[in-house]
Amino acid sequence: MGTMEIDPPTPKLLIKQGAEAQVYSTTYLLPHIPALLKHRPSKPYRHPTLDARLTKHRCLSESRLLIRARSLGIPVPAVYFVDESRGEIFMEWITGSSVREVLDEVLAQEDGESVVDRMMVRVGAAVGALHAADIVHGDLTTSNIMVRNGEREEVVGFGEREVVLIDFGLGAVSTQDEDKAVDLYVLERAFSSTHPKAEKLFQDVLKSYEQNYNGAKVVLRRLQDVRMRGRKRSMIG
């Protein structure tokens, strides 16, 4: 028997350190398949039993949401491999920029809104489809929506590129209008904090959201309430 040749493991490159997880760029199975590794390290402050339970639960819940969304055709990264006891999810690497980066870049230019109005339609459609599947994102900011780079970047404008919803770490299955409205509210806040021009763009997102989700009317009505009170209640005892 000859020895099997195994490629040396691709080094993991830390690209984001959140409160809960570390995100690495690496490869999966073959050195030419880029992948994103989301690792939830163990927290020394937690009791080991509780720590293991939470890590496992969160890993599985995030993977299940991604798989459920993807099976329904909602643009999210594909899940390659899950090791819930180590707290690891390997998923598809999305080459592109976040909506936030695109807006920052495009809106600085004269008449930049028209370049991205198609992009807004896609964002609204993706969020509408997500909510139609009773999945709420939990942290729906413009940083958590990616725009995939086109095959031929110079030809394909921003509006023609696919948008991808990422980071379902705070996501959940919910049928509640309130949760969906809070998703929209968080997104609206993210838009309005980016650029004054972006507020108008959010209207395009909502229009497309409405077209892609039958239950949109009630959620949008709920959004009015959420806007009035902010995300928080006014009561503190």
Partner: protein, 349 residues
Amino acid sequence: MIALGLEGSANKLGVGLIRHIPSKPAEILSNIRHTFVSPPGEGFLPKDTAKHHRSWVVTLVKRSLKESGVKVKDIDCICYTKGPGMGAPLQSVAIAARTLSLLWGKPLVGVNHCVGHIEMGREITGANNPVVLYVSGGNTQVIAYAEQRYRIFGEALDIAVGNCLDRFARTLNISNDPAPGYNIEQMAKKGKNLVELPYAVKGMDCSFSGILAVVDMMAAQLLSGKPKPLLAPEGELVTREDLCFSLQETVFAMLVEITERAMAHVGSEQVLIVGGVGCNERLQEMMGLMARDRGGSVYATDERFCIDNGIMIAHAGLLAYETGFVTPLEESTCTQRFRTDEVLVKWRD
């Protein structure tokens, strides 16, 4: 400048005298407190607590003046807790503050209780711009300062964490002296089995009522042995100490998690713990482990400043007074609902 501070938003009546000298640390001239302790198995009712405050406030103010040697003529303003808190106790202290104001001819300063905790914590620990975890019997908030406001990043969606601990102490019939939370902490030190309780974190918010309901049910099963004895996952019989331990480990892990999320969000390495639950050494230890991992540090104070006190009201009130803020007599009301972010923090950059 010298301020007298009166605090009585819950079951502690606190009186404090503080002196501010420009570019020097605040000088604590007096900080005394009298606590209304209810019998085991009972909480403190508003009317009894208000009565307690009414009957003690004169004694405490006199004692405070006597032990500090401060003369009435040297006092610049009278600070009192405007809210949030329990209505009846707040009112009795507000009336005492108004009376003193009229009697001595001193201006009034209404103070937000939460801001009092934050400012006192900053003053004592020297933490410059920390993320603040404010945890007590009535409040659970993760706060960070931005543009003249203490902004609430996360909070409890139902009952406060201290309320959850206090009510569990009642379930187990633990003494309320000196404080139910303190006695739970001592029992938790002897616990070793972790039972599974719900864990309810939602972003930077959290919820405690479901956890209380479950641990209460477990306590009922433990005390009665019905329908069957309560066993830990390893098969050992669960003790009251184990329940206290499990409850603390679970709710504190939630608090540390939401604090860490806020720290990552605002990019801060300092964390300051204030409020009565902040005295808990296990919470301080867990927070320290988290902060160390982030290359930061935790700041906490002891029971003199963590637990409600008059000095924090005097301190925060004097900070506001120095910027020209006063509360006219006709506006010297109190309110049960008064959010931390409603206060314009003019004394910070």
